[in-house]
Protein backbone atom coordinates (compact mmCIF):
# COMPACT_ATOMS: atom_id res chain seq x y z
CA UNK A 1 0.00 0.00 0.00
CA UNK A 2 3.00 2.27 0.14
CA UNK A 3 4.16 1.40 -3.38
CA UNK A 4 2.60 4.57 -4.86
CA UNK A 5 4.40 6.62 -2.21
CA UNK A 6 7.75 5.07 -3.09
CA UNK A 7 7.04 5.74 -6.77
CA UNK A 8 5.94 9.31 -6.00
CA UNK A 9 9.01 10.05 -3.90
CA UNK A 10 11.24 8.67 -6.65
CA UNK A 11 9.54 10.42 -9.59
CA UNK A 12 8.54 13.72 -8.04
CA UNK A 13 10.88 14.31 -5.11
CA UNK A 14 14.25 12.65 -4.70
CA UNK A 15 14.78 11.69 -8.34
CA UNK A 16 14.28 15.23 -9.67
CA UNK A 17 16.27 16.59 -6.76
CA UNK A 18 19.34 14.69 -7.94
CA UNK A 19 18.67 15.45 -11.61
CA UNK A 20 18.34 19.08 -10.62
CA UNK A 21 21.78 18.95 -9.01
CA UNK A 22 23.14 17.48 -12.23
CA UNK A 23 21.43 20.12 -14.38
CA UNK A 24 22.89 22.88 -12.20
CA UNK A 25 26.28 22.00 -13.74
CA UNK A 26 24.93 22.40 -17.28
CA UNK A 27 23.77 25.18 -19.59
CA UNK A 28 20.31 23.61 -19.94
CA UNK A 29 17.92 25.97 -21.73
CA UNK A 30 14.97 23.58 -22.24
CA UNK A 31 15.64 23.52 -26.01
CA UNK A 32 18.92 21.87 -26.96
CA UNK A 33 20.60 19.04 -25.11
CA UNK A 34 22.34 20.40 -22.01
CA UNK A 35 26.13 20.32 -21.92
CA UNK A 36 28.40 20.29 -18.90
CA UNK A 37 29.73 23.66 -17.78
CA UNK A 38 31.20 22.80 -14.39
CA UNK A 39 30.67 25.40 -11.71
CA UNK A 40 29.96 28.21 -14.20
CA UNK A 41 26.35 28.70 -13.05
CA UNK A 42 27.35 28.99 -9.41
CA UNK A 43 30.23 31.32 -10.27
CA UNK A 44 27.92 33.49 -12.35
CA UNK A 45 25.29 33.69 -9.61
CA UNK A 46 27.73 34.50 -6.83
CA UNK A 47 29.91 36.98 -8.66
CA UNK A 48 28.41 38.25 -11.93
CA UNK A 49 24.61 38.06 -11.82
CA UNK A 50 23.24 41.54 -11.03
CA UNK A 51 20.08 40.17 -9.40
CA UNK A 52 21.23 37.22 -7.25
CA UNK A 53 22.53 39.16 -4.25
CA UNK A 54 19.65 41.64 -4.48
CA UNK A 55 17.17 38.81 -4.11
CA UNK A 56 19.20 37.24 -1.30
CA UNK A 57 19.16 40.54 0.58
CA UNK A 58 15.45 41.16 -0.07
CA UNK A 59 14.54 37.65 1.08
CA UNK A 60 16.82 37.86 4.12
CA UNK A 61 15.33 41.13 5.32
CA UNK A 62 11.83 39.87 4.62
CA UNK A 63 12.42 36.60 6.50
CA UNK A 64 14.04 38.23 9.52
CA UNK A 65 11.39 40.94 9.84
CA UNK A 66 8.31 38.88 9.10
CA UNK A 67 9.34 35.91 11.28
CA UNK A 68 10.22 38.12 14.26
CA UNK A 69 7.15 40.34 14.03
CA UNK A 70 4.90 37.39 13.26
CA UNK A 71 6.09 35.49 16.34
CA UNK A 72 5.70 38.58 18.55
CA UNK A 73 2.19 39.22 17.25
CA UNK A 74 1.04 35.61 17.52
CA UNK A 75 2.49 35.15 21.01
CA UNK A 76 1.09 38.44 22.34
CA UNK A 77 -2.40 37.80 21.04
CA UNK A 78 -2.30 34.21 22.30
CA UNK A 79 -1.34 35.43 25.79
CA UNK A 80 -4.18 37.97 25.75
CA UNK A 81 -6.70 35.39 24.57
CA UNK A 82 -5.46 32.88 27.12
CA UNK A 83 -6.95 35.02 29.87
CA UNK A 84 -10.47 34.32 30.90
CA UNK A 85 -12.11 37.01 28.77
CA UNK A 86 -15.63 36.78 27.31
CA UNK A 87 -16.09 35.52 23.70
CA UNK A 88 -12.70 33.83 23.79
CA UNK A 89 -13.65 31.14 21.27
CA UNK A 90 -15.05 33.73 18.89
CA UNK A 91 -11.90 35.84 19.16
CA UNK A 92 -9.75 32.81 18.40
CA UNK A 93 -11.78 31.91 15.31
CA UNK A 94 -11.86 35.46 13.97
CA UNK A 95 -8.15 36.09 14.54
CA UNK A 96 -7.45 32.89 12.66
CA UNK A 97 -9.81 33.86 9.84
CA UNK A 98 -7.41 36.03 7.70
CA UNK A 99 -5.00 33.09 7.35
CA UNK A 100 -7.49 31.13 5.24
CA UNK A 101 -7.25 33.67 2.41
CA UNK A 102 -5.25 32.23 -0.50
CA UNK A 103 -1.81 33.86 -0.66
CA UNK A 104 -2.61 35.07 -4.17
CA UNK A 105 -5.81 36.75 -3.02
CA UNK A 106 -4.13 38.47 -0.08
CA UNK A 107 -1.34 39.65 -2.39
CA UNK A 108 -3.89 41.37 -4.64
CA UNK A 109 -5.91 42.72 -1.71
CA UNK A 110 -2.85 44.19 0.03
CA UNK A 111 -1.50 45.68 -3.19
CA UNK A 112 -4.78 47.61 -3.28
CA UNK A 113 -4.62 48.55 0.42
CA UNK A 114 -1.10 49.90 -0.13
CA UNK A 115 -1.97 51.91 -3.27
CA UNK A 116 -0.42 55.34 -2.68
CA UNK A 117 -3.47 57.27 -3.94
CA UNK A 118 -6.65 55.20 -3.54
CA UNK A 119 -5.51 52.69 -0.94
CA UNK A 120 -7.19 52.16 2.42
CA UNK A 121 -4.04 52.65 4.46
CA UNK A 122 -2.99 55.98 3.03
CA UNK A 123 -6.62 57.13 3.05
CA UNK A 124 -6.68 56.48 6.80
CA UNK A 125 -3.23 57.99 7.33
CA UNK A 126 -4.33 61.20 5.58
CA UNK A 127 -7.47 61.30 7.72
CA UNK A 128 -5.40 61.25 10.91
CA UNK A 129 -3.23 64.06 9.59
CA UNK A 130 -0.24 62.38 7.93
CA UNK A 131 0.37 64.80 5.08
CA UNK A 132 2.73 62.70 2.98
CA UNK A 133 2.23 59.01 3.72
CA UNK A 134 4.71 56.54 2.15
CA UNK A 135 4.13 55.60 -1.48
CA UNK A 136 4.26 51.89 -0.46
CA UNK A 137 3.83 49.91 -3.70
CA UNK A 138 5.61 52.58 -5.76
CA UNK A 139 8.45 53.21 -3.36
CA UNK A 140 11.72 51.25 -3.34
CA UNK A 141 12.03 51.87 0.42
CA UNK A 142 8.47 51.00 1.42
CA UNK A 143 7.45 48.15 -0.90
CA UNK A 144 9.27 45.50 1.14
CA UNK A 145 7.94 46.75 4.52
CA UNK A 146 4.49 46.58 2.92
CA UNK A 147 5.03 42.88 2.17
CA UNK A 148 6.26 42.31 5.73
CA UNK A 149 3.08 43.90 7.11
CA UNK A 150 1.01 41.69 4.83
CA UNK A 151 2.84 38.63 6.09
CA UNK A 152 2.41 39.54 9.77
CA UNK A 153 -1.33 39.78 9.08
CA UNK A 154 -1.30 35.98 8.72
CA UNK A 155 -0.17 35.39 12.32
CA UNK A 156 -3.37 33.52 13.20
CA UNK A 157 -1.95 30.07 12.40
CA UNK A 158 0.96 30.42 14.82
CA UNK A 159 -1.39 31.98 17.37
CA UNK A 160 -3.64 28.92 17.36
CA UNK A 161 -0.58 26.72 18.00
CA UNK A 162 0.49 28.92 20.94
CA UNK A 163 -3.02 28.95 22.39
CA UNK A 164 -3.21 25.16 22.29
CA UNK A 165 0.10 25.01 24.17
CA UNK A 166 -0.92 27.61 26.73
CA UNK A 167 -4.07 25.67 27.50
CA UNK A 168 -2.03 22.53 28.13
CA UNK A 169 0.14 24.35 30.70
CA UNK A 170 -0.68 23.28 34.25
CA UNK A 171 -2.83 25.86 36.05
CA UNK A 172 -1.71 24.84 39.53
CA UNK A 173 1.80 26.22 38.98
CA UNK A 174 0.35 29.64 38.28
CA UNK A 175 -1.89 29.46 41.31
CA UNK A 176 0.98 28.39 43.55
CA UNK A 177 3.18 31.20 42.20
CA UNK A 178 0.41 33.74 42.79
CA UNK A 179 0.13 32.60 46.42
CA UNK A 180 3.88 33.13 46.76
CA UNK A 181 3.38 36.69 45.51
CA UNK A 182 5.11 36.35 42.11
CA UNK A 183 4.48 39.16 39.63
CA UNK A 184 2.80 38.45 36.29
CA UNK A 185 6.11 39.18 34.52
CA UNK A 186 7.98 36.71 36.72
CA UNK A 187 5.30 34.07 36.26
CA UNK A 188 5.59 34.46 32.50
CA UNK A 189 9.36 33.92 32.43
CA UNK A 190 9.50 31.16 35.01
CA UNK A 191 6.40 29.14 34.17
CA UNK A 192 4.82 30.07 30.84
CA UNK A 193 7.86 30.73 28.66
CA UNK A 194 9.69 27.43 29.37
CA UNK A 195 6.51 25.51 28.57
CA UNK A 196 6.08 27.46 25.33
CA UNK A 197 9.63 27.15 24.00
CA UNK A 198 8.99 23.97 21.95
CA UNK A 199 6.11 25.72 20.21
CA UNK A 200 8.14 28.90 19.67
CA UNK A 201 10.78 26.70 18.11
CA UNK A 202 8.23 24.93 15.93
CA UNK A 203 6.63 28.18 14.73
CA UNK A 204 10.05 29.76 14.20
CA UNK A 205 11.28 26.88 12.05
CA UNK A 206 8.12 26.64 9.97
CA UNK A 207 7.71 30.37 9.36
CA UNK A 208 11.40 30.80 8.54
CA UNK A 209 11.24 28.09 5.88
CA UNK A 210 7.94 29.49 4.62
CA UNK A 211 9.29 33.02 4.27
CA UNK A 212 12.40 31.91 2.40
CA UNK A 213 10.16 30.08 -0.10
CA UNK A 214 7.60 32.91 -0.41
CA UNK A 215 6.28 33.22 -3.95
CA UNK A 216 2.50 33.38 -4.51
CA UNK A 217 1.87 36.49 -2.40
CA UNK A 218 4.89 38.34 -3.80
CA UNK A 219 3.98 37.46 -7.37
CA UNK A 220 0.38 38.57 -6.87
CA UNK A 221 1.44 41.74 -5.04
CA UNK A 222 3.81 42.71 -7.83
CA UNK A 223 1.36 41.86 -10.61
CA UNK A 224 -1.36 43.98 -9.02
CA UNK A 225 0.82 46.97 -8.34
CA UNK A 226 4.36 47.84 -9.22
CA UNK A 227 5.16 44.88 -11.47
CA UNK A 228 6.69 41.56 -10.40
CA UNK A 229 9.82 42.22 -8.36
CA UNK A 230 8.60 45.64 -7.33
CA UNK A 231 9.95 49.13 -7.84
CA UNK A 232 13.72 49.05 -8.45
CA UNK A 233 13.67 45.27 -7.75
CA UNK A 234 12.95 46.06 -4.10
CA UNK A 235 10.69 43.03 -3.70
CA UNK A 236 12.53 40.58 -5.94
CA UNK A 237 12.16 37.58 -3.66
CA UNK A 238 14.59 34.73 -4.20
CA UNK A 239 11.95 32.40 -5.64
CA UNK A 240 10.60 35.17 -7.91
CA UNK A 241 14.12 35.54 -9.27
CA UNK A 242 14.38 31.78 -9.73
CA UNK A 243 10.99 31.69 -11.46
CA UNK A 244 12.02 34.46 -13.87
CA UNK A 245 15.26 32.68 -14.71
CA UNK A 246 13.58 29.32 -15.29
CA UNK A 247 10.31 30.26 -16.95
CA UNK A 248 10.94 33.80 -18.16
CA UNK A 249 14.33 33.26 -19.79
CA UNK A 250 14.48 29.43 -19.77
CA UNK A 251 17.89 29.47 -18.10
CA UNK A 252 17.10 26.11 -16.58
CA UNK A 253 20.64 25.25 -15.52
CA UNK A 254 20.99 28.56 -13.74
CA UNK A 255 17.62 28.13 -12.06
CA UNK A 256 18.58 24.62 -10.91
CA UNK A 257 21.73 26.07 -9.34
CA UNK A 258 19.65 28.73 -7.58
CA UNK A 259 17.28 26.06 -6.31
CA UNK A 260 20.14 24.03 -4.90
CA UNK A 261 21.62 27.07 -3.16
CA UNK A 262 18.19 27.67 -1.61
CA UNK A 263 17.91 24.05 -0.54
CA UNK A 264 21.35 24.06 1.08
CA UNK A 265 20.60 27.39 2.78
CA UNK A 266 17.32 26.10 4.21
CA UNK A 267 18.91 22.84 5.35
CA UNK A 268 21.80 24.73 6.99
CA UNK A 269 19.52 27.24 8.71
CA UNK A 270 17.29 24.45 9.98
CA UNK A 271 20.33 22.56 11.29
CA UNK A 272 21.62 25.67 13.08
CA UNK A 273 18.13 26.23 14.42
CA UNK A 274 18.03 22.72 15.86
CA UNK A 275 21.55 23.01 17.29
CA UNK A 276 20.84 26.33 18.99
CA UNK A 277 17.48 25.07 20.20
CA UNK A 278 19.24 22.81 22.71
CA UNK A 279 20.17 25.91 24.68
CA UNK A 280 16.75 27.45 24.99
CA UNK A 281 14.05 24.93 24.10
CA UNK A 282 12.76 22.86 26.98
CA UNK A 283 13.13 19.14 26.33
CA UNK A 284 15.35 19.60 23.25
CA UNK A 285 18.64 18.74 24.99
CA UNK A 286 18.48 15.08 23.96
Amino acid sequence: MIAPVILGLAIFTYGPMLVSLGLSFTNDDAVKAPSYVGLANYRYLLSADPSFWISVKVTGIYAAASVTLGLLASLSVALILNQDIPFRGMFRTLYYFPTILPATASGVLWAFIFQPQDGLLNGLLRKVGVGHPPAWTDSPQWALPALVIMSVWGFGGAMVVFLAGLQDAPKYLHEAASLDGATAWKKFWVITWPALTPLVFFNLTMSLIGSLKAFDQAFAFGTSGPGVGGPARATLFYVLNLYEKAFGHFHMGLAAAMAWILFVAIAALTAVNFAVSKRWVKGASA
Binding site: M1, I2, P4, V5, I6, L7, G8, L9, F12, T13, P16, M17, V19, S20, A30, I80, L81, Q83, D84, I85, T93, L94, Y95, Y96, F97, P98, T99, I100, L101, P102, A103, T104, A105, V108, L109, F112, I113, D118, L120, W153, V160, V161, L163, A164, N203, L212, K213, D216, F219, A220, T223, S224, Y243, A246, F247, M258, A259, W260, L262, F263
Partner: protein
Protein backbone atom coordinates in the same frame (compact mmCIF):
# COMPACT_ATOMS: atom_id res chain seq x y z
CA UNK B 1 -14.72 42.07 35.68
CA UNK B 2 -11.27 42.99 36.96
CA UNK B 3 -9.57 45.99 35.30
CA UNK B 4 -6.91 43.67 33.88
CA UNK B 5 -9.54 41.65 32.06
CA UNK B 6 -11.30 44.73 30.73
CA UNK B 7 -7.98 45.94 29.35
CA UNK B 8 -7.33 42.52 27.76
CA UNK B 9 -10.78 42.55 26.20
CA UNK B 10 -10.26 46.07 24.86
CA UNK B 11 -6.87 45.20 23.34
CA UNK B 12 -8.25 41.98 21.84
CA UNK B 13 -11.15 43.89 20.27
CA UNK B 14 -8.92 46.62 18.85
CA UNK B 15 -6.48 44.09 17.42
CA UNK B 16 -9.32 42.14 15.87
CA UNK B 17 -10.74 45.27 14.25
CA UNK B 18 -7.35 45.92 12.63
CA UNK B 19 -7.09 42.31 11.46
CA UNK B 20 -10.54 42.14 9.95
CA UNK B 21 -10.58 45.61 8.37
CA UNK B 22 -8.86 44.43 5.16
CA UNK B 23 -11.41 41.64 4.67
CA UNK B 24 -14.37 43.92 5.34
CA UNK B 25 -12.90 46.48 2.99
CA UNK B 26 -12.42 43.76 0.35
CA UNK B 27 -16.14 43.00 0.37
CA UNK B 28 -17.16 46.64 0.47
CA UNK B 29 -14.90 47.59 -2.46
CA UNK B 30 -16.20 44.67 -4.50
CA UNK B 31 -19.62 46.36 -4.37
CA UNK B 32 -18.56 49.98 -4.98
CA UNK B 33 -19.00 51.80 -8.29
CA UNK B 34 -15.63 52.85 -9.72
CA UNK B 35 -16.23 56.53 -8.98
CA UNK B 36 -16.71 55.89 -5.27
CA UNK B 37 -13.28 54.26 -4.99
CA UNK B 38 -11.67 57.47 -6.18
CA UNK B 39 -13.91 59.79 -4.20
CA UNK B 40 -14.10 57.97 -0.88
CA UNK B 41 -11.50 55.20 -0.73
CA UNK B 42 -11.90 54.62 3.01
CA UNK B 43 -15.72 54.42 3.09
CA UNK B 44 -16.70 51.04 4.53
CA UNK B 45 -20.24 51.01 3.16
CA UNK B 46 -20.79 51.69 -0.55
CA UNK B 47 -23.24 54.57 -1.17
CA UNK B 48 -24.74 52.83 -4.19
CA UNK B 49 -24.00 49.12 -4.05
CA UNK B 50 -23.17 47.74 -7.48
CA UNK B 51 -23.52 43.96 -7.72
CA UNK B 52 -22.85 44.28 -11.47
CA UNK B 53 -19.13 44.39 -10.53
CA UNK B 54 -19.42 40.62 -10.31
CA UNK B 55 -21.18 40.10 -13.63
CA UNK B 56 -18.72 42.54 -15.24
CA UNK B 57 -15.86 40.48 -13.84
CA UNK B 58 -17.43 37.23 -15.05
CA UNK B 59 -17.80 38.56 -18.59
CA UNK B 60 -14.40 40.28 -18.87
CA UNK B 61 -12.54 37.04 -19.65
CA UNK B 62 -13.31 33.34 -19.95
CA UNK B 63 -14.30 33.27 -16.30
CA UNK B 64 -16.58 30.24 -16.29
CA UNK B 65 -13.99 28.19 -18.14
CA UNK B 66 -11.32 29.04 -15.56
CA UNK B 67 -13.76 28.39 -12.76
CA UNK B 68 -14.59 24.96 -14.17
CA UNK B 69 -10.87 24.22 -14.65
CA UNK B 70 -10.16 25.10 -11.01
CA UNK B 71 -12.99 22.82 -9.88
CA UNK B 72 -11.82 19.90 -12.03
CA UNK B 73 -8.20 20.20 -10.88
CA UNK B 74 -9.21 20.54 -7.24
CA UNK B 75 -11.61 17.57 -7.30
CA UNK B 76 -9.11 15.30 -9.08
CA UNK B 77 -6.40 16.35 -6.59
CA UNK B 78 -8.63 15.60 -3.62
CA UNK B 79 -9.53 12.17 -5.02
CA UNK B 80 -5.88 11.42 -5.71
CA UNK B 81 -4.78 12.59 -2.28
CA UNK B 82 -7.39 10.40 -0.59
CA UNK B 83 -6.71 7.37 -2.80
CA UNK B 84 -3.00 7.53 -1.99
CA UNK B 85 -2.93 8.82 1.58
CA UNK B 86 -5.52 6.53 3.17
CA UNK B 87 -3.82 3.22 2.24
CA UNK B 88 -0.34 4.68 2.78
CA UNK B 89 -1.28 6.11 6.18
CA UNK B 90 -2.75 2.76 7.17
CA UNK B 91 0.32 0.86 6.01
CA UNK B 92 2.71 3.19 7.84
CA UNK B 93 0.66 2.95 11.03
CA UNK B 94 -0.27 -0.72 11.06
CA UNK B 95 1.62 -2.94 8.64
CA UNK B 96 5.21 -1.91 9.31
CA UNK B 97 6.66 -3.70 6.27
CA UNK B 98 10.45 -3.89 6.06
CA UNK B 99 11.88 -0.54 5.05
CA UNK B 100 8.65 1.33 5.66
CA UNK B 101 10.33 3.30 8.46
CA UNK B 102 12.91 4.59 6.00
CA UNK B 103 10.24 5.47 3.42
CA UNK B 104 8.29 7.31 6.08
CA UNK B 105 11.37 9.27 7.16
CA UNK B 106 12.06 10.24 3.54
CA UNK B 107 8.44 11.29 3.18
CA UNK B 108 8.53 13.54 6.24
CA UNK B 109 11.87 14.98 5.16
CA UNK B 110 10.23 15.95 1.86
CA UNK B 111 8.02 18.36 3.82
CA UNK B 112 11.12 20.45 4.46
CA UNK B 113 12.30 20.46 0.84
CA UNK B 114 11.60 23.59 -1.12
CA UNK B 115 9.51 22.57 -4.16
CA UNK B 116 11.79 24.72 -6.31
CA UNK B 117 14.58 22.20 -6.00
CA UNK B 118 12.63 19.71 -8.11
CA UNK B 119 10.79 22.06 -10.45
CA UNK B 120 13.24 22.12 -13.37
CA UNK B 121 13.45 18.34 -13.93
CA UNK B 122 9.76 17.79 -13.15
CA UNK B 123 8.81 20.54 -15.61
CA UNK B 124 11.03 18.99 -18.26
CA UNK B 125 9.55 15.55 -17.56
CA UNK B 126 5.99 16.79 -18.08
CA UNK B 127 7.07 18.84 -21.10
CA UNK B 128 8.69 15.81 -22.71
CA UNK B 129 5.47 13.86 -22.16
CA UNK B 130 3.52 16.60 -23.95
CA UNK B 131 1.60 17.46 -20.81
CA UNK B 132 2.03 21.24 -20.80
CA UNK B 133 -1.40 22.90 -20.86
CA UNK B 134 -3.00 19.76 -19.47
CA UNK B 135 -4.05 19.10 -15.88
CA UNK B 136 -1.78 16.07 -15.48
CA UNK B 137 1.16 17.97 -13.91
CA UNK B 138 -1.18 19.45 -11.29
CA UNK B 139 -3.08 16.27 -10.50
CA UNK B 140 -0.82 13.27 -11.09
CA UNK B 141 1.56 13.91 -8.15
CA UNK B 142 -1.40 13.82 -5.72
CA UNK B 143 -2.26 10.26 -6.86
CA UNK B 144 1.31 9.19 -6.12
CA UNK B 145 1.25 10.23 -2.49
CA UNK B 146 3.26 13.43 -2.73
CA UNK B 147 1.04 15.06 -0.10
CA UNK B 148 3.19 14.11 2.88
CA UNK B 149 1.03 16.12 5.25
CA UNK B 150 -2.06 14.08 4.28
CA UNK B 151 -0.26 10.76 4.77
CA UNK B 152 1.13 11.91 8.11
CA UNK B 153 -2.33 12.94 9.30
CA UNK B 154 -3.89 9.63 8.23
CA UNK B 155 -1.10 7.68 9.87
CA UNK B 156 -1.54 9.55 13.17
CA UNK B 157 -5.24 8.77 13.07
CA UNK B 158 -4.81 5.07 12.27
CA UNK B 159 -2.30 4.78 15.11
CA UNK B 160 -5.03 5.82 17.52
CA UNK B 161 -7.41 3.00 16.55
CA UNK B 162 -7.32 0.19 19.12
CA UNK B 163 -5.47 -2.85 17.76
CA UNK B 164 -8.19 -5.23 19.06
CA UNK B 165 -10.71 -3.89 16.55
CA UNK B 166 -8.42 -4.73 13.67
CA UNK B 167 -7.33 -8.02 15.22
CA UNK B 168 -10.95 -9.20 15.42
CA UNK B 169 -11.39 -8.65 11.70
CA UNK B 170 -8.06 -10.36 11.01
CA UNK B 171 -9.20 -13.45 12.95
CA UNK B 172 -12.29 -13.54 10.75
CA UNK B 173 -9.90 -13.99 7.83
CA UNK B 174 -10.32 -10.54 6.30
CA UNK B 175 -7.47 -9.25 4.11
CA UNK B 176 -5.69 -6.04 5.10
CA UNK B 177 -7.30 -4.22 2.18
CA UNK B 178 -10.72 -5.32 3.36
CA UNK B 179 -9.96 -4.37 6.96
CA UNK B 180 -8.92 -0.91 5.81
CA UNK B 181 -12.02 -0.51 3.66
CA UNK B 182 -14.56 -1.94 6.11
CA UNK B 183 -13.14 -1.19 9.57
CA UNK B 184 -10.38 1.40 9.63
CA UNK B 185 -11.47 3.88 6.97
CA UNK B 186 -15.05 4.27 8.25
CA UNK B 187 -13.59 5.11 11.68
CA UNK B 188 -11.26 7.66 10.12
CA UNK B 189 -13.98 9.89 8.69
CA UNK B 190 -12.88 13.00 10.65
CA UNK B 191 -9.28 12.63 9.47
CA UNK B 192 -10.43 11.97 5.91
CA UNK B 193 -12.56 15.14 6.01
CA UNK B 194 -9.57 17.17 7.22
CA UNK B 195 -7.33 15.79 4.49
CA UNK B 196 -9.99 16.43 1.84
CA UNK B 197 -10.55 20.03 2.94
CA UNK B 198 -6.86 20.90 3.04
CA UNK B 199 -6.17 19.12 -0.26
CA UNK B 200 -9.02 20.99 -1.91
CA UNK B 201 -7.84 24.37 -0.69
CA UNK B 202 -4.21 23.55 -1.44
CA UNK B 203 -5.14 22.86 -5.05
CA UNK B 204 -7.67 25.67 -5.44
CA UNK B 205 -5.29 28.25 -3.94
CA UNK B 206 -2.18 27.13 -5.79
CA UNK B 207 -0.63 29.72 -8.09
CA UNK B 208 2.90 28.39 -8.63
CA UNK B 209 1.89 25.13 -10.37
CA UNK B 210 -0.78 26.49 -12.73
CA UNK B 211 1.41 29.47 -13.56
CA UNK B 212 4.16 27.15 -14.75
CA UNK B 213 2.15 24.48 -16.50
CA UNK B 214 -0.86 26.30 -17.96
CA UNK B 215 -0.27 28.90 -20.67
CA UNK B 216 -3.39 28.72 -22.85
CA UNK B 217 -6.30 30.84 -21.68
CA UNK B 218 -8.67 27.90 -22.10
CA UNK B 219 -6.69 25.71 -19.71
CA UNK B 220 -5.99 28.27 -16.96
CA UNK B 221 -7.26 27.97 -13.42
CA UNK B 222 -8.96 30.83 -11.65
CA UNK B 223 -5.87 32.00 -9.77
CA UNK B 224 -3.83 32.42 -12.96
CA UNK B 225 -6.75 34.07 -14.74
CA UNK B 226 -7.11 36.48 -11.84
CA UNK B 227 -3.42 37.36 -12.20
CA UNK B 228 -3.89 37.93 -15.94
CA UNK B 229 -6.96 40.04 -15.32
CA UNK B 230 -5.23 42.14 -12.65
CA UNK B 231 -2.11 42.57 -14.71
CA UNK B 232 -3.93 43.52 -17.90
CA UNK B 233 -6.90 45.45 -16.59
CA UNK B 234 -5.37 48.90 -16.21
CA UNK B 235 -7.28 51.60 -18.10
CA UNK B 236 -6.67 55.32 -18.56
CA UNK B 237 -8.50 55.94 -15.27
CA UNK B 238 -6.38 53.35 -13.46
CA UNK B 239 -6.98 49.78 -12.36
CA UNK B 240 -10.70 48.96 -11.95
CA UNK B 241 -10.18 47.90 -8.34
CA UNK B 242 -13.87 47.27 -7.78
CA UNK B 243 -13.85 44.53 -10.43
CA UNK B 244 -10.52 43.19 -9.17
CA UNK B 245 -11.89 42.93 -5.64
CA UNK B 246 -15.01 41.20 -6.98
CA UNK B 247 -12.62 38.69 -8.55
CA UNK B 248 -10.75 38.25 -5.27
CA UNK B 249 -14.04 37.64 -3.47
CA UNK B 250 -14.87 34.87 -5.94
CA UNK B 251 -11.47 33.19 -5.48
CA UNK B 252 -11.66 33.27 -1.67
CA UNK B 253 -15.26 32.06 -1.54
CA UNK B 254 -14.53 28.30 -1.35
CA UNK B 255 -12.15 28.89 1.56
CA UNK B 256 -14.72 31.03 3.35
CA UNK B 257 -17.52 28.52 2.85
CA UNK B 258 -15.39 25.57 3.98
CA UNK B 259 -14.19 27.57 6.97
CA UNK B 260 -17.74 28.50 7.96
CA UNK B 261 -18.78 24.85 7.73
CA UNK B 262 -15.75 23.21 9.32
CA UNK B 263 -14.21 25.81 11.66
CA UNK B 264 -13.32 23.21 14.26
CA UNK B 265 -11.55 21.01 11.72
CA UNK B 266 -9.43 23.94 10.58
CA UNK B 267 -8.40 25.07 14.02
CA UNK B 268 -7.81 21.53 15.29
CA UNK B 269 -5.85 20.65 12.15
CA UNK B 270 -3.57 23.62 12.70
CA UNK B 271 -3.04 23.11 16.40
CA UNK B 272 -2.19 19.43 16.13
CA UNK B 273 0.19 19.64 13.22
CA UNK B 274 0.91 23.33 12.77
CA UNK B 275 0.79 22.86 9.04
CA UNK B 276 -1.55 24.43 6.57
Amino acid sequence: MKPGKILALAVATLGLAICLAPVIWLFSTSLKPFGEILRAPTALIPKHARPQNFTDFFSSFTFWRSFANSCIVAVLSVLGTLASSIPAGYAFARLKARGSGLVFALLIASLMLPGQVTIVPVFRLFASLGMIDTFYPLVLPAWLGTNAFAIFLMRQFFLSIPEEMLEAARLDGASEGRILLRVAAPLAKPAIATVAIFAFLGSWNDLWGPLIYLNKESSMTLMVSLMNFVGGSGTAQGTPWNLVMAGVVVTVLPAFVLFAMFQKTFVAGISTTGLK
